[in-house]
């Protein structure tokens, strides 16, 4: 491969950012400034460098985190280091919405304008107006930030030098102990004083009410988001160099958000994760039992609350028996497709090709979904333990945890948990002294809903554009790096813990015959107590809504998120099971239950769904790339129309929708018409 690189050079900052991820370049062939004598005698690069291509995405993050955008010089340097053709590197950088290849301010404010954050667009405008063009802050509308229980949500990211020790996408360190203590020192937000303050601003008490911590700005520096280090660290050493900081605001108001945009290190801390769990502390929970009780930063506390007993059981009974237990438990994948997990594991484990990989899909980007975030923030070790068990069962020695880029707190906590587990021998060459080697690498997404599709996720990790692959071959046969791969989402994986601790039989007794076990539901919208609810399969939609405080004037419920469907208020007896929702002609999807009261303008919601799919289509296949645009156009035309005036466009929508469902490559295009169709057929929208 004879690659051509232009003349553009990286700045010192960009070079440092890339080198922090990849290590310093060894020769002029891979971008070192000075040519050594050896460089004249042999060429370096080739296969060895190309095998590192999967570090492209971490490298792009490093550039973006450091200077706020990906410049020509920075990108070329990164591509030279990895022997990636610059055209391909550019194609990857422009694929993700969190990267920019044009200069932009160091601080970017992303305001969620998705379904649960109905007022996001106004907030976006208000903050943009307050900041003005001179502020050096870019304000962007964002798809769902996964903070639906505390809507409206916003994420502030200020580019800068990484805070000490915490690199944004850490490479697997040779010496895990080196990072452990440092990370602990940076722990934040779980502190009790913050929890107390946040308590008062519980979102259930009215989304429109201003949060109590709004007037607490300028407080102590410890109330900051993860990557900021010690208090007073941003201006460190008087050099004026800014550090990389993120701040998550939810609920966000124009005042607090403007303030946070100008000085993200002073933003109020996020409330603890358990505030998203109205049932926190309740007896009988299986998946959420530790959230609120366990210190998410403490491995000891996790073990004191029953942690790592499931892994010991797994080692006691062996991989084949683990798969048997999971199969007997009847566990179905919770990511939306409901595929039997035991069968997937068995198929992966039995592949002769090696190595096998385990991938945890934590790219939770379905609008209205936030359950994985709450687990990762409130009980991160449970996911680490589950992944270890899954890896053991499927014969994998490396697990990739693909986390969406919009979850800085989950990243920080998982990062810390993995380092701790590694330091304590719960990850690494010899897990629990059982002679089984397993490690976990976190990969950060960069703003692309499509990367939640399993094969698109593989491409994203491998350093390609996050476009789905056609199936067959299926991932269990040819997945990540072309090797057998088991991919499960977060909720599916954490179900493995109760299966092993209570036994398959007892687990299968929960729920219904076909949908076994507990299920997490993300309730948001017009309810009194939005949050994550854990119920055994079989509870009805009405029971769930009653639990979360159903409004009197309920107009519709969106089940399963933007790719799901609407149901009417007279259909609340639908049992929340895979078979029950299927029989009712709808879907459980990712567990979204978004309640809309009669004040919510339905046509606008449908338009937002269409916009979402148009924005998130990867553009690979024609039905999705053009179909989502035509769908949005038709909905725009009929936004104020009904009856005969809308009939022609509704027919057009049906024809395009049918083709998207039949002929698109992946699930995104295939489901992009579901919600709109159900609104027309079940709710009588536009009648």
């Amino acid at each position: 491969m004879d690659l051509h690189f232009g003349d553009s050079k990286p700045t010192d900052e960009e070079r440092a950012a890339v080198d922090a991820v990849l290590g310093p370049p060894e020769s002029a062939w891979e971008g070192a400034d000075d040519r050594s004598d050896a460089d004249l005698r042999w060429a370096r690069g080739g296969r060895a460098a190309r095998e590192r291509r999967d570090e492209l995405l971490p490298g792009l993050h490093a550039l973006n985190d450091r200077v706020g955008w990906v410049s020509e010089g920075g990108l070329d340097y990164l591509c030279r280091r990895l022997m990636v053709p610059p055209a391909e590197g550019y194609g990857v950088a422009t694929f993700y919405s969190m990267f920019s290849v044009r200069p932009r301010p160091a601080t970017v404010v992303r305001v969620c304008t998705d379904l649960a954050c109905g007022g996001g667009a106004e907030l976006c405008g208000a903050v943009g107006a307050r900041l003005g063009p001179e502020s050096g802050v870019a304000v962007e509308a964002s798809p769902c930030l996964g903070l639906c229980e505390r809507a409206p949500a916003a994420l502030v990211v200020r580019a800068g030098a990484p805070a000490a020790l915490l690199s944004p996408t850490p490479p697997l360190p040779e010496n895990p102990l080196a990072r452990g203590p440092g990370v602990t020192a940076h722990r934040l937000d779980g502190s009790s004083s913050n929890a107390g303050q946040a308590e008062r601003s519980r979102p259930g008490e009215g989304v429109s009410a201003r949060p109590a911590f709004e007037d607490e700005l300028g407080g102590a520096g410890d109330r900051r988001q993860p990557q900021a280090a010690e208090p007073g660290d941003s201006g460190r050493g008087g050099s004026g160099e800014k550090t990389y900081v993120t701040a998550t605001l939810a609920p966000a108001a124009p005042d607090t958000l403007t303030q946070a945009a100008l000085a993200p290190e002073t933003a109020p801390a996020e409330p603890p994760a358990e505030l998203a769990v109205p049932q926190a502390g309740q007896e009988g929970l299986l998946l959420l039992s530790r959230i609120g009780k366990v210190d998410p930063s403490s491995l000891d506390d996790y073990r004191a609350h029953g942690g790592y007993t499931a892994l010991r059981t797994a080692f006691d009974i062996g991989p084949a028996a683990v798969i048997r237990e999971v199969t007997d438990s009847g566990l179905l994948g919770r990511g939306g497709a409901a595929f039997p997990t035991g069968r997937k594991w068995q198929a992966t484990a039995s592949q002769p090709d090696h190595p096998h990989y385990l991938v945890c899909n934590a790219d939770e980007s379905e609008p209205g979904t936030f359950k994985d975030r709450v687990i990762m923030e409130g009980d991160p070790y449970s996911l680490i333990e589950s992944m270890t068990i899954a890896g053991y069962a499927t014969g994998a020695h490396l697990g990739y945890l693909y986390l969406r880029g919009e979850y800085p707190r989950a990243l920080e906590r998982l990062d810390h948990a993995i380092a701790q587990a590694r330091a304590r021998g719960l990850l690494g060459d010899d897990v629990l002294g059982q002679g089984y080697a397993f490690d976990i690498e976190i990969r950060r997404g960069a703003g692309a809903y499509i990367c939640g599709e399993e094969t698109a996720l593989f491409n994203s990790i491998e350093g390609y554009r996050g476009e789905p692959r056609s199936k067959p071959p299926f991932p269990v046969e040819k997945g990540l790096f072309g090797k057998p791969t088991a991919e499960n989402n977060v909720e599916t994986l954490v179900n493995v813990l109760p299966i092993l601790t209570m036994g398959a039989e007892a687990y299968a007794a929960i729920g219904t015959d076909k949908s076994t076990g507990p299920k997490l539901f993300c309730v948001s919208g017009s309810v009194e107590r939005p949050g994550i609810y854990e119920l055994p399969f079989g509870a009805t939609l009405g029971e769930l809504l009653t639990l979360s405080g159903m409004p009197d004037n309920l107009r519709a419920v969106l089940l399963g998120g933007a790719a799901g469907g609407f149901v009417r208020p007279d259909e609340l007896d639908i049992p929340l099971t895979f078979e029950g929702t299927r029989d009712a002609g709808t879907t459980l999807g990712s567990g979204v239950v978004l309640a809309l009261d009669d004040t919510v303008p339905l046509p606008r919601v449908l338009l937002r769904i269409a916009e979402f799919f148009r924005d998130e289509s990867c553009g690979q296949c024609v039905p999705c790339r053009v179909g989502t645009v035509r769908q949005e156009e038709a909905l725009h035309r009929i936004v104020e129309r009904t009856g005969a005036d809308a009939a022609a466009d509704i027919d057009l929508l049906r024809e395009v929708g049918r083709t998207m469902r039949d002929a698109s490559i992946c699930g995104l295009g295939q489901t992009a018409w579901n919600a709109v169709e159900s609104a027309i057929d079940r709710l009588g929208a536009y009648k």
């Binding site: 053709p85 610059p86 055209a87 550019y90 024609v622 179909g627 989502t628 083709t659 039949d662």
Partner: protein, 286 residues
């Protein structure tokens, strides 16, 4: 005499194609089987020398038991499979896909599309006059070829031909996302600043004319391009000893473009800059 590579012997796969028994060598696609059976399945992104990306979705067929339609160009025939190529469902999808394409890009120079639009009763105008289109100006930044993305259907063939399937130059890539996705070189600059080596192999595979010879582009603009009056002569390139085949397209005793036969076992249609573009000296008549 042309050498014909035979390859290793392969087992036959038996399946049902439109109610008829079909037998194809293992590894064949449904499209191969359709062509062997003389069935006409429309294709755009499929090419005879590249692995299809199955992005255009005009060749979709119904496979019994599958939830969605399958691309005939990529789905391999499996024993016992039941395939239907011409049902109401497949015709509907092909029709709408053709409408979606023709409403968003200029397909006037895409061979066969006019016939398919008629055959499937596709009406690209029905999305209304405000339907989003690419509406891009042709990019003319060098004397050899023109990129007219208003005609691009994002079939990925040029990317594959420039990349690891043919040329190994990797000068072009798909950039952006969704409807805004485009083919571009690094940093979306002019071709002259890119890694392009001007082999023209991307033009060779482009199914729509989005990539074309500057000579053809200029003649079309001047209204003098007339394929009826052109003759094609296949000969051997005289520049080096490899022996690549050239097909000279000649109009009014002038070479107007050079292609290469895809069934040539040495080059499969590949040429270098000299073979493809270095013909000016032949017609220097001063």
């Amino acid at each position: 005499m042309t050498a014909v590579p035979l390859g290793i012997p392969r087992r036959l796969v038996e399946f049902t194609l439109d109610g008829q028994d079909a037998r194809v060598p293992e590894g064949s696609t449904i499209l191969d089987a359709c062509r062997a059976a003389g069935k006409d399945v429309p294709t755009l992104c499929e090419g005879d020398t590249l692995t299809p990306k199955n992005a255009c979705r005009v060749c979709v067929v119904e496979v019994e038991g599958a939830r969605t339609l399958a691309p005939a160009c990529s789905r391999r025939a499996e024993p016992g499979m039941t395939v239907l190529t011409d049902t109401e469902r497949t015709r509907h999808s092909r029709k709408v896909v053709l409408e979606l394409l023709a409403s968003s890009v200029d397909m006037s120079t895409t061979p066969k599309v006019a016939g398919w639009l008629k055959e499937y009763d596709a009406k690209p105008d029905r999305f209304g006059p405000d339907a989003a289109r690419l509406n891009e100006e042709p990019r003319v930044d060098n004397d050899l070829y023109v990129r007219d993305y208003d005609k691009c259907i994002l079939c990925y063939k040029c990317v594959d031909a420039c990349g690891d399937q043919w040329q190994n130059t990797f000068a072009i890539s798909v950039v952006g996302r969704g409807f805004d996705a485009r083919i571009a070189v690094e940093h979306d600059g002019p071709l002259t600043d890119s890694a392009c080596v001007y082999c023209g192999n991307c033009i060779e595979v482009c199914p729509t004319g989005a990539l074309s010879f500057k000579s053809e582009f200029d003649m079309r603009a001047a209204g003098t391009w007339d394929e009826e009056r052109q003759t094609e002569t296949t000969t051997v390139c005289a520049y080096c000893g490899v022996g690549c085949n050239l097909t000279l397209h000649v109009q009014d005793n002038d070479i107007v473009k050079v292609t290469s036969p895809h069934d040539n076992p040495v080059t499969h249609g590949n040429l270098c800059i000299k073979g493809r573009f270095g013909y000016q000296h032949v017609q220097n008549r001063d």
